[in-house]
Symmetry: C2
Subunit: 256 residues, 2 copies
C-alpha cells in the first residue's frame, strides 16, 4: 500500500530560494524515513534562476538544442515545433523552454543539471528533517506513438531509478521476460495525479516504498536517458528519410 | 491524497474465468465509489483464452504484426527484436507476444480488444459491488529515448483517459502551455509500483480520484494511440533512412 499526497503551502518560488528549506517547512515535520518527494522542475528552475531574457523564444530553444531530432509545422499559424535533444540528453519538444509561466519577455529553462539539483534538495531535506528521503525532479513530456503527455523523471537522488528484474522469476517460478522497470518514471507519473497542472501544488510525497530509497550518490535520472547511438528512433521519420534520399542521390553520383 | 494498494489472493487465471467475479471476491467488499482498478493485461489474456500453440514464437509475432516499425539484432545470439504496430494500434516490441509465462510450446497474445475487456470487467464489477468503479488494463512497454519499461494503459472503461488542460490557467492565472495529460497512462504507471512483476499481484486499486471515474461508454485507451500518419516517429530511423536511399536512387534513375 502506498499513499501519495501533495504538500500544501508551497509559495511562488523566486531565484535564490532554498527549496529544501521551503519543502521541509511545507511538510511541517510530517516526513518519515523512506518518503520520496517528487518536485516539479518548474520550481527548481525558478529557484536556480533559470529565467532568462528572451524576446525570441525560438532563439532560446536553439541555444538549448544539442541536436535537432524532428520538426513539424504548427497545427495553427506559422512556425514549427522542434523536437530536440537538450544538453541533459533529454529528447523533448521546444527543448523544455517554457514561455507560459514567466514574465513577458522572459522564458524558463530546465535546470542545468537536474540530478545535481535533486541531490542538493535531498541532502538539504535529510539534514533538516533527519529522515532518509529520496527526491525526484519531474517534467511533463510528450512521446512518440501515444497522445497526451505524462510526467517523467529528469532528475533523481537517493532513489533507485531502475528496478532490474532480469533473471528474476515470477510467483510461479518462471523467468521474467520483462527486464528493467523505470521506477523513477513511474513515481513521477504517479505524483502528477495529485499535483495537477493548475493547482499550485508542485511537490508531492510518495510514502510506502522505502526499499526504493537509497544513498544520495546512486545513479540519477541521467542514467534513464538512452544514448542516441543505441536508439532505434534517434531521428524523426521524415528527417531520416530525407537524409536517405540525399545519400541515395550521392551514391548515384547526383548532386542533390 | 490518493492511496494505491494491490489486491491479495488473485489465483492463477485460466481460460473462461470470470475476472469481474474473481476481482470482486478478492476485494471482499472493500471497493468504494470512485475506485479505479488497474488490471495487468496478462490475466485478461489468460481469462480470454489468448494462449495459442506456437512452437515458433516468431511466427506468432508475425501474425500479430500490422506493420513493421523497426528491428534490431538481438544483443546476444541470433535473431532480431521487432518493434511493430499491432492490431490495436499499439507500437511495441514483439507485438506483445509473451512466451515467458506460458506452458512450453505456447505463447500468450494481448487481449483482442482491451477496451472491450475493460468494459466487461467494469460492468461486472459495478453490477456485483454496486460501486461506480473504473477499470484500466495495463501492459509493460518500452519507449524511444529512455531506458527501462513502464506500465501504460492499453484498455480502459469508466475512466477519463485524458485530462484536457488546453486553455486552462494555472494558479497564477496564466494560460497553460501543457495541453493534455494522459491520465490513464499515469494511473497504469502508478499501480506498477505496488503490483510489481514478481509478486503475483496483478490487480491494484487507486483510491482518491473519483473525478476520473465516468460512464462506461467514455472513450477508451484506444483513443490514446497516435495514428502513424500523425506520428513524427512512425518508422525506425534506419528503416526510414533506407527507404530514403531507395527513393534517392529511384529519382536518380538507378535501380537499387
Amino acid at each position: 500500500m502506498i499513499s501519495i499526497f501533495a504538500l500544501e503551502g508551497i509559495p511562488e518560488i523566486a531565484p535564490g530560494d532554498d527549496l529544501a528549506a521551503i519543502i521541509a517547512g511545507a511538510a511541517a515535520g510530517a516526513l518519515i524515513d523512506g518518503d520520496i518527494l517528487v518536485v516539479t522542475s518548474k520550481i527548481v528552475s525558478k529557484a536556480e534562476g533559470r529565467i532568462v531574457r528572451a524576446p525570441d523564444r525560438e532563439q532560446a530553444i536553439t541555444e538549448q538544442t544539442v541536436r535537432l531530432v524532428a520538426s513539424k509545422p504548427h497545427a495553427h499559424g506559422t512556425g514549427v515545433t522542434r523536437i530536440v535533444e537538450n544538453p541533459q540528453g533529454l529528447v523533448l519538444a521546444a527543448a523544455g523552454v517554457d514561455a507560459s509561466n514567466t514574465p513577458e519577455g522572459t522564458v524558463l529553462l530546465l535546470p542545468e543539471d537536474p540530478d545535481a539539483s535533486a541531490r542538493a534538495i535531498a541532502a538539504g531535506l535529510r539534514e533538516r528533517t533527519g529522515k532518509r528521503v529520496g527526491v525526484i525532479i519531474s517534467d511533463t513530456l510528450g512521446r512518440p506513438w501515444r497522445l497526451g503527455q505524462i510526467d517523467l523523471a529528469i532528475g533523481a537522488a537517493g532513489v533507485h531509478v531502475f528496478d532490474d528484474l532480469r533473471g528474476r522469476t515470477d510467483s510461479a517460478g518462471r523467468t521474467l521476460e520483462v527486464t528493467i522497470t523505470a521506477t523513477a518514471d513511474e513515481l513521477a507519473a504517479a505524483t502528477d495525479l495529485v499535483k495537477g497542472k493548475t493547482s499550485g501544488r508542485p511537490v508531492a510525497v510518495v510514502r510506502g516504498l522505502p526499499e526504493v530509497v537509497t544513498e544520495l550518490d546512486a545513479p540519477g535520472a541521467r542514467s534513464i536517458v538512452r544514448s542516441s547511438a543505441d536508439d532505434l528512433f534517434s531521428l524523426g521519420t521524415r528527417e531520416a528519410f530525407e537524409a536517405g534520399v540525399a545519400e541515395g542521390l550521392r551514391r548515384a553520383g547526383v548532386t542533390p
